[in-house]
Amino acid sequence: MLSGSDLTALAVTLKLALLSTLILLLLGTPLAWWMARTRWRFKFLLEAVIALPLVLPPTVLGFYLLVALGPHGPVGGLMEWLGARSLAFTFTGLVIGSVFYSMPFVVQPLQDAFSAVGRRPLEVAATLRASPLDRFFTVAIPLARPGFFTAAVLGFAHTVGEFGVVLMIGGNIPGETQVLSIAIYDHVEGLEYVQAHWLSGGLLLMSFLMLIAVYALNRRFSVVRP
């Protein structure tokens, strides 16, 4: 069954996915809210940038992140100058990579959900004495709840499934940056097919269950009338 190092990889993966999803929800909510409501002419440019990870080979994203976060890159260089170590091949670097990599999976459902809420409920709230922030928390967020669920599950699942980005900027350090997808790769390289089966089957089942939950819930919520 699962070896000690497999369990460690599982723990790293879950920690990475949870942390990335949390950060993405915190960053993605205001961003998606702004994108759903702005009439900015060049919004499409930002939308294209956010959607890049959907089409880009993960290795390309990973490569650029490695360059940026490494000791000679702008971010890594700044970190070293500040006396910290560069972020390449660290768990923190992995989290940063995951946030970029899974961004569209969180921002897009949130943006769609906020768009679907529309302006009217917020205008109603305004005429019922609710301040802008009050309207956001008591009307926009509750009405966009199905979008939050979808965003969280997709962001989590997509982070669990990443491989290329991790390999490029995280490397394969057990206990720090070795995640499940890389552990599977190692097992296959080492011809340990039984181990690879256990991990692959587990991931397959988990991903499938999460997607079932998303689609089932979205079906239920789509009957909400305007």
Binding site: A126, L128, R129, A130, D134, L143, V224
Partner: protein, 336 residues
């Protein structure tokens, strides 16, 4: 534009004339630079000063009920009340619930309400914040005829039971006739004219007096009933109207509509006619209506009325401004 801060003011005009935009500007949902808005003694917009909508003590009823789908009816109603300072709560939740007859709906979710019920909840929700001004944007437009009939009495009663001025957007002459005390006529984004409803409906320089359903409104009070003939007598500034018996207490205020096409004119008081409602009147003004007809504005005891007669009759009777005549109303409709 300036309107009285009491009664119901209708913003009336064809689609796209700017009624809703004006209402949204009053609420602060739209902001126009250089605009000026004062309600009673409160300055809502002047120069750089702009009071955001949530700080304006108003209630707004949108065309679609726009209830918060994630909250029960009760929590929809409480949403605004919770955000009011205690001193500002003049209309109680209970009062709003009773006025709109929604007691039995309180625990339901909006998705389980009919269109008419949703709009009643929306009106109660707007009232529950004790507005100093109630804005209503065609609250009946999205409803079918039966639902309209269901809600109209509630809106009429608001006006009588709570002393809140209402600005009501409508393109329906029928709703305006039922509800409005004051009318603002909008055309292509501008105010064409405004004034008391009875005056506005009968002004010959405005389009309202020229439709085939042009009419005058008469405010009257119930004077008594004739049990033998099953009739009701109504006293107005212009004289006593007789209509079919209505179960209304003596002294209650009613509104009558008299269509221009139902009023004929005679020079002598007619005897030997089946028409009961005959009033001495003076011709105020007359204007040709197409090739064959003339619309006549009459003053009946200080109260304006319209008559639609043929051009031939006008010529035979030598109708002209200042001439005393008798107006016979063939039929009179009671509105409330």
């Amino acid at each position: 534009m300036s309107v009285p801060a009491r009664g119901v003011t209708a913003l009336f005009g064809p689609s796209g004339c700017g009624k809703t935009t004006l209402l949204r500007a009053i609420a602060g949902l739209e902001r126009y630079r250089g605009g000026f808005l004062k309600v009673g003694d409160m300055n809502w917009q002047e120069g750089d000063c702009f009071v955001p909508p949530h700080r304006r003590p108003l209630g707004y009823v949108f065309q679609e009920a726009s209830l918060f789908e994630h909250l029960s009816v009760r929590r929809n109603l409480e949403y605004g009340i919770k955000r009011l300072p205690r001193a500002g709560r003049k209309v109680s939740l209970q009062q709003a619930i009773e006025l709109l007859g929604i007691e039995h709906l309180l625990e339901r979710k909006p998705a389980h309400l009919s269109g008419g019920e949703r709009q009643r909840v929306a009106i109660a929700r707007a009232l529950a914040v004790s507005p100093r001004l109630l804005l209503m944007d065609e609250p009946l437009a999205a409803l079918d005829l039966n639902r309209k009939q269901e809600i109209l009495p509630y809106i009429e009663s608001l006006h009588k039971d709570l002393d809140i001025p209402v600005i009501y957007v409508s393109h329906s002459p029928d709703e305006v006739a039922h509800l409005a005390d004051h009318l603002v006529l909008l055309e292509a984004g501008r105010v064409r004219a405004s004034g008391a409803i009875s005056n506005m409906l009968t002004r010959l320089d405005l389009p309202l007096a020229h439709g085939s359903d042009a009419e005058a409104l008469v405010e009257a009070t119930v004077a008594g009933h004739d049990e033998a003939y099953h009739l009701t007598y109504l006293d107005s500034a212009g004289g006593r109207f007789t209509v079919m018996r209505k179960a209304l207490p003596v002294g209650s205020a009613v509104r009558l509509r008299v269509a221009a096409r139902d009023v004929s004119l005679t020079l002598e008081p007619q005897s030997g006619t089946s028409i009961l409602n005959i009033f001495p009147a003076t011709i105020d003004e007359l204007i040709p209506e197409g090739e064959a007809q003339v619309t006549v504005r009459l003053m009946v005891g200080g109260m304006p009325m319209l008559a639609r007669v043929t051009r031939k009759s006008a010529s035979l009777l030598d109708l002209k401004a200042g001439k005393p005549v008798y107006a016979q109303a063939k039929s009179v409709a009671l509105l409330s």
